[in-house]
Symmetry: C2
Subunit: 196 residues, 2 copies
């Protein structure tokens, strides 16, 4: 036993890898059971059996993308909490945004723009994932000497760097984008390290 | 004479106001001559006469949106160059992002996500508009005492605040979003004011 379940999981992961790429290129709204079936040369009925609806496919794709980012970030725990860990998380974020496997940039960032004004299960999943990302960013600032600082504000500023990098690197194709992002982080570290 | 031309301009502005709203709600890709004709109860052939193609309509819509932002920002020149002017520009930016006339947020920010990876006239127009916005942001830092600071980096950090506000206010529906954006600007002003 177990093998069929494992095989099912592997198939699901392979399907969702393709779905993440498709959502990056066409936007999450462009990801449908039909477009995914075509990309994978699978039957629509086979994909329906996996996901049941377009909404469920979109939510599963977002969760899979978030899982991929978390897996890449797993190694940052080797760095001591504080500035060094923040620098590592930033590099993981920038590498993710630059990943050639994501032809249209981070599919989660794209989905936020598409779905921020639409009620429903996709928006709910996105808000949950984005709140969790904010929370993890806030925790990265717990190691600083001045815990009276507003860590939610620091998390907002940290996330701002990733969003601005996405814009500068992908929209402006600005060669200095990574240098700017790193310098912005050093300023933020300095700010977080000073007494309030 | 002149009246027909003025009337034509007024009609064009009215059409483009509607196009900006539509692009905010549906994304710039969702803005077509057909969808706009429906929203305005105009004929598709009439709109074709104004714009000629979907690409040209999309470019005209982006330029109109940028023009609307610039018109709102015109008053900031009353504030002295430096921190006070920066604060005013930030407020104009946040008000624009919150505008109930933009049901899906800033159509230019949305278009950047949609078009950053697609070659063509729309991307070219966007990059030109975004480079101009970056340039204007960089000039806002000329008034600071330490011109040796990298004003392009400061412009990157300033624009990061707007992008993060768009995300926090619209996606997270975070009540503290405006307070965070204002605090982030104060930190940036402090950074720009200190010797390198």
């Amino acid at each position: 036993m177990g093998v069929p379940a494992e095989k099912g999981m592997a198939t699901r992961a392979r399907i969702l890898d393709a779905a993440v790429r498709l959502a990056s290129r066409d936007g999450l709204e462009g990801l449908t059971i039909g477009s995914l079936a075509e990309a994978l040369a699978m039957s629509k009925s086979g994909l329906f059996a996996h996901f049941g609806s377009k909404d469920a496919l979109q939510v599963a794709t977002l969760e899979h993308a978030a899982e991929l980012v978390r897996a890449r970030a797993a190694g940052v725990a080797q760095a001591p909490p504080g500035p060094e860990r923040l620098r590592r998380v930033l590099e993981v974020t920038l590498d993710w945004i630059d990943d050639p496997e994501l032809p249209g940039g981070c599919p989660i960032t794209g989905a936020c723009i598409e779905f921020d004004d639409r009620e429903g299960p996709v928006r709910e999943a996105l808000e949950r994932l984005q709140r969790a990302t904010h929370q993890r960013a806030a925790e990265l600032f717990d190691a600083f000497r001045h815990p009276s600082r507003d860590r939610d504000l620091l998390a907002f500023q940290f996330r701002a760097i990733g969003l601005a990098y996405h814009h500068a690197a992908r929209m402006l194709r600005e060669p200095r984008a990574r240098a700017w992002a790193r310098s912005a982080l050093e300023s933020l570290i300095e700010q977080a390290s000073r007494p309030v």
